[in-house]
């Protein structure tokens, strides 16, 4: 096969995946047993410092900002709801939003890593969705990488004086999308294509995961704006104590 032919075949594969003709556009967490052991351990290890930081931050919330605990529970519950909703997407398959971005811009990304792993554990143990061996990798993508991107975008938007709601929308939707990009990279690295290596298979997984996720990311962003409008109207006393309003109100370091 010449290079041109190879590229042509690759392109056709991507097109097929994008338009959902081949029906192999499934997009959610990495399945149980589908990640080689060394990667499982690697991602699991990376998660530990974030989780530790999250536990410390939650402890601080419990001790010094008891008032915000209901809000914290709501953010965890929000992630719980959203990750149960499998929404049809334009590629012809379904996926679900993550719901971790909203909590990240209110309580900080580390706190969400703890709430996120609870959601993932529930789904892995009871629903056979995701898995215990791939828990580390899924936690890294959904509960660490996504929330950190959301948080970073929200802080940047605040600094640039972008409209607050636009900031919330961008932060939560891009964070959601980023989660699935990370999943694609994780799978691509674990399964390098014989033809094009890891890069080729990352592209393949991107076509499966990220494209499906685009409309869902938009939905997640819009929904987050709705929730934030509600919270601003009724829970400003609690929001005042969170990093949503003030940087460093709840220490996040």
């Amino acid at each position: 096969m010449t290079r041109k032919e190879k590229n042509f075949i690759k392109l056709s594969f991507v097109m097929a995946a994008v338009f959902g003709v081949t029906q192999n556009t499934y997009a959610m967490h990495i399945m149980e047993g589908y990640l080689p052991l060394k990667y499982c351990l690697f991602y699991g290890a990376i998660c530990l410092p974030f989780l530790a930081m999250g536990v410390v931050n939650i402890k601080k919330l419990v001790n010094e900002h008891r008032k915000t605990l209901l809000l914290l529970a709501m953010m965890g519950a929000y992630a719980f709801v959203l990750s149960a909703l499998k929404i049809p997407s334009v590629t012809g398959s379904s996926s679900h939003p993550t719901g971790t971005g909203l909590g990240a811009i209110i309580f900080g990304p580390c706190v969400m890593s703890v709430l996120g792993i609870i959601v993932l554990l529930f789904q892995a143990i009871l629903l056979a969705h995701g898995g215990l061996t791939t828990l580390g990798a899924n936690t890294f993508s959904m509960a660490i990488a996504g929330p950190f991107v959301s948080y970073g975008i929200f802080v940047a938007a605040k600094k640039l004086k972008v409209n607050r709601y636009v900031g919330v929308f961008l932060a939560t939707s891009i964070g959601d999308l980023f989660t699935y990009c990370v999943t694609s990279v994780q799978l691509g690295v674990a399964y390098p294509n014989q033809v094009g290596g890891a890069v080729a298979s990352i592209k393949q997984f991107m076509a499966v995961f990220a494209v499906t996720q685009i409309p869902l990311a938009i939905i997640e962003g819009l929904l987050a704006v709705v929730v934030v409008i509600g919270l601003e109207a009724y829970a400003s006393r609690e929001l005042k104590e969170t990093i949503y309003v003030k940087r460093g109100a709840i220490i996040e370091k």
Binding site: E32, H129, T133
Partner: protein, 105 residues
């Protein structure tokens, strides 16, 4: 506040439209769940790969699975709505809440 109410309604409608659009637009699809086709890609790249672990418990069928997913959503929605109910009632009976815009001054 009134303009925000409108915004909330518009955003909610938009969410529904984005969710429903594929169902109307794409006809020959079952909108299959999302764990299996990445599997297909994996077997395509590496046909010899055998998953080395299996889920401890897996729901016996689609019905049980949808029950568990419904419970998950109901549990989450319950807590979120309890919170909102609490905050709305508090504002009604103890109106000392500041204006949202004042927060950011």
């Amino acid at each position: 506040m009134k303009s925000k109410k409108k915004l909330v309604i518009v955003l909610t409608i938009l969410c529904v439209i984005i969710g429903v659009f594929p169902l109307v637009y794409i006809k020959n699809s079952e909108f299959g769940g999302a764990d299996g086709a990445a599997e297909e890609v994996i077997t395509e790249i590496n046909p010899e790969y055998v998953p080395w672990a299996e889920s401890i418990i897996s729901p016996p069928g689609g019905e049980t699975e949808s029950l568990l997913f419904a419970l998950q959503a109901a549990f989450g929605a319950g807590i979120v709505c309890f919170g909102f109910g609490y905050y709305v009632a508090r504002k009604k009976f103890k109106p000392e809440e500041g204006n949202a815009e004042e927060l950011f001054r």
